[in-house]
């Protein structure tokens, strides 16, 4: 699965039997910083998503399991909304050195790799808070929901 932002909707009335009633949305993949990452794609929607929503998308044949009819040629489905996400920069550094490019680094130099996986909680996060992404819509006050 990966994170993505809903940016548009596709209308296709002539479609294969079994996909009737499924909503097709254009989504742009985003990385762990909430920035654009990779080619935009079209995904079915199993989570009642709207424009601008931050969602997670299931890829591959498994994605059809979230739909009403599972025997359909779908390889991407939105399976949930993301209210908030956080990346622990120390754990990320152990995995791929992401800490080098994150701002607000007041951690001791050279210790990231040995501390990876052991520093958890607020101490492990930058001064400006965790690296987060937030959904742009307020689900609590949206009258459409």
């Amino acid at each position: 699965m990966h994170l993505a932002r809903v940016i548009g909707r596709v209308v296709a009335t002539r479609r294969i039997t079994g996909l009737d009633g499924e909503k097709l949305l254009v989504v742009r993949p985003v990385d762990e910083r909430g920035e654009d990452a990779g080619a935009t794609l079209v995904a079915c929607d199993a989570a009642d998503s709207g424009l601008g929503d931050l969602v997670h998308v299931c890829d591959g044949r498994e994605s059809t399991l979230a739909l009403k009819e599972s025997f359909v040629p779908v390889d991407a489905t939105i399976v949930g909304h993301v209210e908030e996400f956080a990346v622990d920069r120390d754990v990320a550094a152990g995995a791929g050195g992401v800490a080098d490019v994150l701002p607000g680094d007041d951690a001791p130099q050279g210790g990231e790799r040995t501390r990876a996986g052991t520093t958890t909680g607020d101490d492990a996060l930058p001064a400006d808070g965790p690296r987060t992404g937030r959904a742009t819509r307020d689900h609590g006050t949206d009258p459409a929901r």
Binding site: R9, A12, R15, A43, G60, P73, D75
Partner: protein, 108 residues
């Protein structure tokens, strides 16, 4: 799934018996602004798309999940013809001769 444009057909006489009676189309991938990407796939056509049509196609084992491609060595399938699509509330593409309801993002 990706948006693609049908740009050609594939004719093949010497082929595995499991892909007999399938129509293959050459599909060029498009981005969300309908600009062509430098990426082409040969896809089995399950709905009868025509030359120049903008279509949706899926790849991988999902492409086998149609009655036409089930159990066959197919890894890309066209399964829908696109009428229109919007990005950020702006209409990017609309098929000629089709009046479809515009999606108003304020209503959703």
């Amino acid at each position: 799934m990706f948006i693609g444009k049908v740009v050609g057909t594939v004719v093949s006489t010497v082929k595995d018996e499991k892909v007999v009676n399938l129509k293959f189309q050459v599909v060029q991938e498009l981005d969300e602004q309908a600009q062509p990407r430098d990426k082409y796939v040969v896809a089995a056509d399950t709905i009868g798309a025509g030359q120049g049509d903008l279509v949706l196609f899926s790849q991988g084992s999902s492409a086998r999940q149609t009655t036409l491609t089930d159990g066959r060595p197919i890894d890309a399938a066209i399964f829908a013809v696109i009428d229109s699509w919007d990005v950020a509330g702006t209409l990017v593409y609309q098929k000629e001769g089709l009046e479809t309801t515009r999606w108003d993002p304020k209503e959703t």
